[in-house]
């Protein structure tokens, strides 16, 4: 029987040739779709490509009309590029690795309006998760809303005790004090000091009535042993009393801390009650946060999102890394990457260049070049941080310019640092709405700056905005400004200068935001002058009301805690005295007994 079916070679070759032709015919559309899909999945926002051309002979790919939607605003593009050329490394491509030797983008525009809104990326991919998680992160900031309720609407404050934190805390503390008292009684009961002391005292009384010389050697030895046993028991009781004292001190400390919490809770209740009255705010930091807190957080949130993506797609270290497998009818599984020193990373852009030409009358006019170096999926393998920078390559206006730089350093797993800085001068700043007020701020042409750094989990960021061409617009359709809103409007509408400075700091889990602007003081001073006295009176009334509701519930708890502490200390002291008294009596008897023994009998040291 033959092993090979030679006559099938021809049809097989034909079949393989058809596959090769199909691959050739459909490589570009398939690559285009795959790039769009992968780009969308990786960036968490819609990526569109107009056309993709493969130049196999040059190992190059041309992309036309690339659009990347803004994940935070589906109506606009983050970036749009007319032409992109990727010169690939053919040797790396043979290893199924994408090493871009040179990336050139032309006709780049930022923040353009999309013809159709982008589809939000859903699902459990990393990017949508990261987007959700940075949105949750943004919710951690307690940004105040500027309350400008007229003071004459403040009438009567009715407080429900069950809503007050102090009352709840006091109730919980009373329960703890009660359990501490019961626990202490239980411990004394288990210790059974009375029985130990009574038994020792009975022994001492019995020994006092005996004469060692009449007891004889055996009788004396027996009496000494009984005394030693009783002294040991007393010693054990003393140690137990010491332990109990330590426990009492610990419990007392905890209850004292609980009392301090009551003071903190009362401050919260003042704020809560103040909130019920909707008293107007005239604290400058609060006004700054109310005006510019949300817009500042939006900026930091975007920076954090891209940092999170960088950390996910550019992990440090040389250990095998897992990526989700390709989507198919069968299970996707997981693709495991095996980085190797002195081999190509899975993805690397060695050098990316973006040429920007801003012409016309814009103060930004001039030619710019943006450079990206070392953008890679395996930073440790590449050994150098990723660098992004822009620079002006031709003469332009001195008053305007764009400076962007970023450093993504994931080379060392122990020291992961990401930082970015963007300075824009002479640019048209976007219009801002003031939350809670019908005011719209158009900063006009000015300067903006964003600095953001994440070192391990510690972040620091600064966003600032300045302009001297500010225009204010009133969007009061459908409602009339009240007196305080009118007052604030008169203050802000007269201001032509704007200077905002927002800073974020702290750990990722507990970030802190501080915002200040030149508006804060102006508004705060004006509000203070007009309504300060009335607000102060209302706040005094609020504190008095809270105190009156809370006092009746806090004072008994305070007394209860003091009583528990003093009772415990007093009982411990008296029990210790009793033990020590009988111990002294027994020591005296032991001395007397041992004096009557024959000199050759050496008693062991008791070590008491």
């Amino acid at each position: 029987m033959k092993i090979f079916r030679w006559k099938a070679i021809g049809p097989l070759l034909l079949f393989l040739a058809i596959i090769a032709i199909l691959l050739w015919l459909f490589a570009e559309p398939v690559a285009e779709d795959t790039t769009e899909e992968v780009g969308t999945e990786l960036l968490g926002t819609q990526v569109d490509i107009g056309k993709l051309d493969i130049h196999a002979g040059e190992a190059a790919v041309d992309l036309h009309l690339l659009e990347i939607a803004d994940p935070f605003n589906v109506a606009r593009n983050l970036v749009e590029a007319e032409e992109i050329r990727l010169k690939l490394n053919p040797l790396a491509l043979a290893e199924k690795k994408l090493v871009v030797e040179n990336l050139r983008l032309g006709g780049v525009k930022f923040g353009t309006t999309r013809k159709t809104p982008a589809k939000p990326v859903e699902g459990d991919g990393f990017a949508p998760q990261a987007l959700r998680s940075v949105r949750e992160w943004a919710q951690r900031f307690d940004v105040p809303i500027l309350k400008l309720t007229p003071i004459d609407t403040v009438k009567q404050l009715v407080l429900n005790p069950t809503q007050l934190t102090t009352v709840k805390t006091a109730q919980a503390l009373a329960g703890r004090a009660d359990s501490a008292k019961k626990g202490l009684e239980q411990s004394f009961k288990q210790l059974n000091v009375e029985q130990t002391v009574d038994s020792a005292r009975a022994l001492a009384t019995r020994l006092k009535a005996t004469d060692p010389r009449k007891l004889g050697l055996e009788g004396t030895r027996k009496a000494v042993e009984d005394t030693r046993a009783s002294l040991k028991q007393l010693d054990a009781t003393k140690r137990q009393l010491d332990n109990l004292e330590r426990q009492v001190k610990g419990g007392a400390g905890s209850l004292s801390a609980g009392l301090q919490n009551l003071d903190e809770a009362r401050k919260k209740d003042y704020a809560f009650a103040r909130g019920l009255l909707k008293l107007p705010t005239f604290s400058a930091p609060e006004i700054g946060e109310a005006f510019f807190g949300k817009v500042s957080i939006d900026r930091f949130q975007q920076a954090l999102y891209y940092t999170e993506l960088a950390r996910r797609y550019m992990p440090p270290g040389l250990l095998p890394k897992q990526d989700p497998g390709p989507e198919r009818l069968r299970a996707a599984g997981v693709n495991v990457r095996f980085p190797k020193e002195q081999a190509w990373p899975k993805f690397l852009v060695q050098l990316g260049q973006v040429d920007l030409e801003i012409g016309g009358d814009s103060p930004l006019r001039g030619a710019y070049e943006a450079v990206v170096q070392g953008l890679t999926s395996d930073p440790t393998l590449y050994g150098k941080p990723t660098i992004v920078r822009t620079s002006r390559t031709a003469e332009g206006s001195a008053i305007a310019g764009i400076d962007v730089s970023a450093l993504i350093d994931h080379v060392n797993p122990q020291r992961v640092r990401d930082s970015a800085s963007a300075r824009l001068r002479g640019v048209d700043l976007p219009t801002l709405d003031v939350p809670g007020l019908p005011f719209r701020l158009n900063p006009g042409r000015g300067a903006a700056r964003l600095d953001f750094a994440l070192r391990n989990d510690q972040l620091s960021g600064r966003w600032s905005l300045s302009s001297n061409q500010v225009a204010w617009a009133l969007d009061s359709a459908g409602r009339k400004l009240n007196t305080l809103e009118g007052l604030v409007w008169r203050v802000v509408s007269g201001l032509k200068d704007l200077s905002v400075d927002a800073r974020v700091s702290g750990g990722l889990r507990a970030p802190k935001l501080a915002v200040s602007s030149n508006l804060d003081r102006a508004i705060a001073d004006r509000l203070q002058a007009v309504i300060g006295e009335e607000v102060a009176k209302a706040e005094k009334m609020v504190r008095a009301k809270v105190d009156s509701v809370v006092a009746g519930r806090v004072e008994p708890v305070r007394k209860q805690i003091v009583a528990v502490q003093s009772q415990a200390e007093s009982r411990l002291g008296s029990e210790r005295k009793r033990v020590e008294s009988v111990e002294r009596e027994l020591q005296a008897e032991l001395k007397r007994l041992s004096g009557g023994l024959a000199p050759e009998i050496k008693l062991p040291k008791l070590g008491i």
Binding site: M1, K2, I3, F4, R5, K7, A8, I9, P11, L12, F15, L16, I19, L91, A94, E95, K96, K97, P320, G325, P326, R328, L329, R330, A331, A332, G333, V334, N335, V336, R337, F338, P339, K340, A343, W344
Partner: protein, 172 residues
């Protein structure tokens, strides 16, 4: 529809007279790779070429493919677990690293857990599949094969013109 008809023809003819039970079983063992492992992978092009070139039953190959496709879907979680174990095994890391960084080898997708697990699964199952299939085909032919051959359904199927194309790959 034509493809389905061809498949039914090939299966029925395979079970009757085309090749020895050993040739049919070898075809089925090879065809099982197409069903058990994710289809669009380089190793399957090689397996398909072997089914065509080697003097095994092509119909057996198609039958094996058809029979093992549902099993492949069912066993995907098992294949993933096997692949992950192998790819994460410290003793094999050097081998995988070397393969991963060797030209062309990564195009086999060996570093995908389901692909690796299913290929290993097929290699392990290929020999039992061969012996089980050889026994089953021999039993079929010895028992109900003759009666099926006389049925109108069989006559209709084998009379189809499409069947003639398929005959090109009959084992010799």
């Amino acid at each position: 529809m034509l493809a389905l008809l061809k498949l039914i023809q090939s299966i029925i003819k395979t079970l009757h007279s085309e090749g020895t039970p050993g040739q049919v079983a070898a075809g089925m063992a090879l065809g099982a790779a197409l069903g058990l492992t994710p289809l669009m992978n380089v190793h399957n092009l090689l397996v398909f070429s072997l089914i065509v070139i080697l003097n095994v039953s092509f119909g057996g190959g198609m039958l094996g493919w058809a029979l093992f496709v549902p099993l492949g879907f069912i066993l995907d979680p098992v294949f993933h677990a096997i692949g992950l174990q192998l790819l994460e095994a410290p003793s094999l890391r050097e081998l995988w690293t070397s393969m991963y960084n060797t030209p062309l080898v990564p195009y086999t997708n060996f570093n995908n857990t389901v692909v690796l697990g299913s290929v290993v699964g097929w290699v392990v199952l290929a020999v039992p599949i061969f012996f089980a299939a050889r026994w089953a085909v021999a039993r079929y032919r010895a028992t109900i094969g003759e009666r099926v051959q006389q049925s109108k359904f069989y006559q209709a199927i084998t009379a189809s013109k499409a069947y003639n194309i398929y005959r090109l790959f009959r084992p010799e």
